[in-house]
């Protein structure tokens, strides 16, 4: 069957700019619906990077990548898709006349694009980028005529086009007649925006909407309509290793041992959440099943603390946990509980909640001079299937959110980023184990789950990517 559906989202997109589609509130609406990418990551199976606008690709001898483009594809404005559009899309992302978010995935690289013919393009990066095909799943393709400034009416090759946008009220996508691929069963999707999770849940219940990709755990009570799914968000406490007593590995271990992660599951954190041993979720390349999370062992924590104290580490110094209000569900309660658990083990812990702008000043470099020992509670999102999107920022000496500097870590990151295939996976695994067991880089907590409410008339299972991308073509209508 086919028909129109309504989707209610927590946050309105303030832009529908294709090059900003990696931002979840924008991507959820246009990514692969309006704007397509050359490649696509399979999040339902294990197929890895799959073709989309590119039919196939290979690496040239000089390390650059050649993409063979699909033919007979038209943009929604009627123009034909070819290699020049890909080049233009890249130029736009990298341009300094416009601040495209996708640019951040190409940090530290110089990119040259070379149009071979209408259907072939070479992309060369310096240094060589082994996961360029994966990165291409983040670059939305726009027609060559797109100006070098943010557009509010995205033109793409996707199965849908934007037909109505009333800011503050709704965004409507409708199917295109001339789409190159399979016709989806959803003919029209109306996006609505409600900030309150219980309202979103109620809307699906009353039939005012058909799908709400995120509702509150508390409202997810109906097994027929409510599904939990592992989203790609990982909650952790970033440790600032530069300040005593956190510069002592015993203290960092003690922090980890003091927290009863298991007790959170099914209480403050949804049952289905996974205890984290890495900053990236288990579906990521190189995720290391051998790394075991720290047990909850207050006695051991106390012992480590005592040792550290004996060695002259100022363990009495109050440590501040800095968290962001409304960062994720139950953040206040979870942080209060963690505070209590740390105190139980003998830490002196203070708790400080700040709004988003202030949180940012604690989380990212440059860190404030004269700060005390701090744990910054944060949530990190990586649904891209490769750890490189996380590791550099969070752990490399130059990473903006990195709380320490370790030459071995730097080296591993560099090598893994340059490697391909099994080697790449092995190096990432090694890094993950090293960070967790030896450096004790941070206090990893949970890979969170989200809850979606799906009307019974829809055939849809949310995936790990649902947070940042919601492909309408994957939704079936019963």
């Amino acid at each position: 069957a086919s028909g129109a559906i309504k989707i209610v989202l927590p946050e309105e997109a303030d832009l529908l700019e294709p090059c900003m589609a990696t931002r979840s509130n924008i991507g959820r609406i246009i990514m692969e619906n309006v704007s397509e990418t050359l490649t696509e990551l399979d999040v339902r199976g294990k197929k890895g990077v799959m073709p989309r606008l590119a039919e196939k690709w290979e690496q040239n001898a000089d390390g650059s990548w050649r993409f063979h483009l699909r033919q007979g594809v038209k943009f929604s404005d009627g123009t034909v898709f070819d290699a020049k559009d890909v080049k233009h899309s890249f130029d736009r992302v990298m341009s300094d006349k416009i601040t495209c978010e996708a640019k951040r995935y190409f940090g530290g690289m110089t990119i040259t694009t070379n149009v071979v013919d209408d259907n072939t393009i070479d992309i060369k990066t310096q240094p060589v980028q082994p996961i360029l095909p994966l990165l291409m799943s983040l670059v939305t393709i726009v027609p060559e005529s797109t100006p070098m400034q943010f557009v509010r009416e995205p033109v793409g090759t996707g199965p849908y086009k934007l037909t109505n946008w009333t800011p503050g009220q709704q965004i409507v996508l409708e199917t295109r007649e001339d789409y190159w691929g399979k016709k989806p069963s959803v003919t029209k999707a109306t996006y609505l925006f409600r900030a309150d999770p219980s309202v979103r849940a109620a809307m699906v219940q009353t039939g005012e909407a058909d799908l709400s990709p995120s509702i509150s755990q508390l409202d997810a009570t109906n097994p027929k309509t409510d599904f939990s799914y592992l989203d790609s968000e990982t909650v952790y406490l970033r440790i600032d290793h530069n300040i005593a007593p956190l510069n002592d590995v015993r203290v960092r271990k003690a922090l980890n041992l003091a927290i009863d992660r298991q007790a959170f599951l099914g209480t403050l954190v949804p049952e289905g959440a996974v205890l984290a041993t890495a900053i990236v979720p288990p579906t990521t390349l190189g995720w290391n099943p051998d790394v075991k999370q720290f047990p909850h062992d207050v006695a051991a924590a106390k012992k480590l603390l005592a040792e550290a104290k004996a060695a002259g580490v100022p363990v009495e110094t109050p440590i501040t946990i800095i968290a962001r209000t409304a960062n994720f569900p139950n953040v206040t309660e979870i942080m209060e509980a963690i505070q209590a658990q740390l105190q139980e083990a003998g830490f002196k812990v203070e708790l400080k909640f700040v709004e988003v702008a202030e949180h940012e000043t604690y989380y990212s470099k440059p860190f404030k001079e004269g700060r005390g020992p701090q744990l910054v509670a944060a949530m990190h999102d990586n649904s891209k299937g490769d750890p490189s999107f996380s590791m550099f920022f969070k752990y490399a000496s130059k990473g903006t959110q990195s709380g320490f500097s370790d030459p071995k870590v730097d080296d591993l990151i560099q090598r893994a980023s340059a490697a391909v295939g099994d080697e790449r996976a092995r190096l990432w695994s090694q890094l993950i184990a090293y960070l967790h067991d030896d450096v004790v880089a941070d206090v990893l907590l949970f890979h969170m789950v989200g809850f979606a409410r799906v009307s019974e008339k829809l055939d849809f299972k949310p995936t790990i990517a649902t947070n940042s991308m919601l492909q309408l073509s994957e939704i079936g209508i019963r």
Binding site: Q169, L192, D196, M203, T400
Partner: protein
């Protein structure tokens, strides 16, 4: 009268300018929009580039000079986040808020005046006790609580009204109903207090001696005398609605200026903040002017 309005407008204009100057500088001391616009993983160069593009790297005074120049030509700048003129964003949202505020305040005002006056007329009586109790509860109930309960009751359980959104007349009922409660509670209390004094004055005796019915005695003789503090409070409540009924807008998905203002403050979208304040301040100044005219209309002794 006209010269009063003229003088008042000039004075208001000056304070409007003061307000904008103040907001301009103060808001820019509260953090960097670049790090909020871009994800935490964005590189320093990207942030730098963002600042460059939006002129945030220049010294504050230069930025201010540019802003003034633009404003003089009627350009309130672009929203960083929405890539469209800030003024458009704001006027769009403000229209909704204005309607919401207008409808709510007219309902609240008429209802609160009637209930408060009747309560005062038999102060200490049964109706008074009930009205006082309810209005006080109304004034102290958290609005989000009320909003959620209303949705659960009227939309989910009874399925009488849509949960949220805009579109039909039905969509307005819950938001207005929820917004109604607190101002109603407050204004009833103020009307009641003020009316008790007015009803014990000598001119009310005169009216009774003329054989005037209770209705006109309350609503014509006493009420007008009791209105001074009441319209002040009405103004205050209206101003807080014009500044945005944040909770209600958020929960009911009402695209008003309150949510817009909160979001842009939290995201440091300065141009939108400034434009929003400009528009709402203009509305509030106008309203205060109206209130001051009302004082003079209501009480001839203040008129000179």
């Amino acid at each position: 009268m006209l010269s009063f309005i003229r003088k008042r407008s000039v004075a208001s204009l000056i304070s409007l300018v003061g307000l904008i100057v103040m907001v301009f500088f103060l808001s820019r001391m509260t953090g960097d929009p670049a790090s909020l616009f871009l994800p935490v993983e964005a590189s320093a160069e990207m942030k730098q580039q963002f600042r460059e593009l939006h002129g945030l790297n220049d010294p504050l005074l230069v930025q201010f000079g540019r802003y003034v120049g633009d404003v003089v030509t009627g350009d309130l700048g672009e929203s960083y986040r929405k890539a469209r003129p800030a003024l458009d964003v704001v006027t769009e949202a403000f229209t909704w808020t204005l309607w919401l505020a207008l409808i709510t305040m007219s309902l609240v005002t008429s209802a609160a005046i009637v209930v408060g006056s009747l309560a005062a007329f038999r102060s200490g009586g049964f109706f008074d006790r009930i009205a006082s109790m309810l209005s006080l509860i109304g004034a102290s109930v958290p609005d989000f609580w009320l909003a959620i309960v209303a949705i659960v009751l009227f939309s989910v359980n009874l399925a009488w009204l849509p949960t949220s959104g805009t579109g039909s007349v039905l969509h307005w009922i819950l938001p207005i109903g929820v917004l109604f409660v607190r101002p109603f509670g407050i204004i009833v209390q103020v009307v009641r207090g003020s009316m008790i004094s007015a009803l014990s004055s000598a001119y009310v005796k005169t009216a009774r001696a003329k054989g005037v019915r209770s209705g006109p005695i309350i609503f014509i003789h006493a009420l007008r005398n009791a209105m001074l503090p009441v319209i002040t409070v009405i103004g205050d409540q209206a101003a807080s609605l014009l500044n945005g009924a944040v909770v209600v807008e958020t929960i009911f998905g009402f695209p008003g200026v309150g949510k817009l203002m909160i979001d842009s403050i939290l995201q440091r979208d300065f141009n939108v903040v400034l434009a929003a304040i400009l528009v709402t301040a203009l509305a509030i100044f106008l309203m205060n002017l109206l209130i001051d005219l009302c004082y003079a209309l209501l009480d001839p002794r203040i008129r000179h």
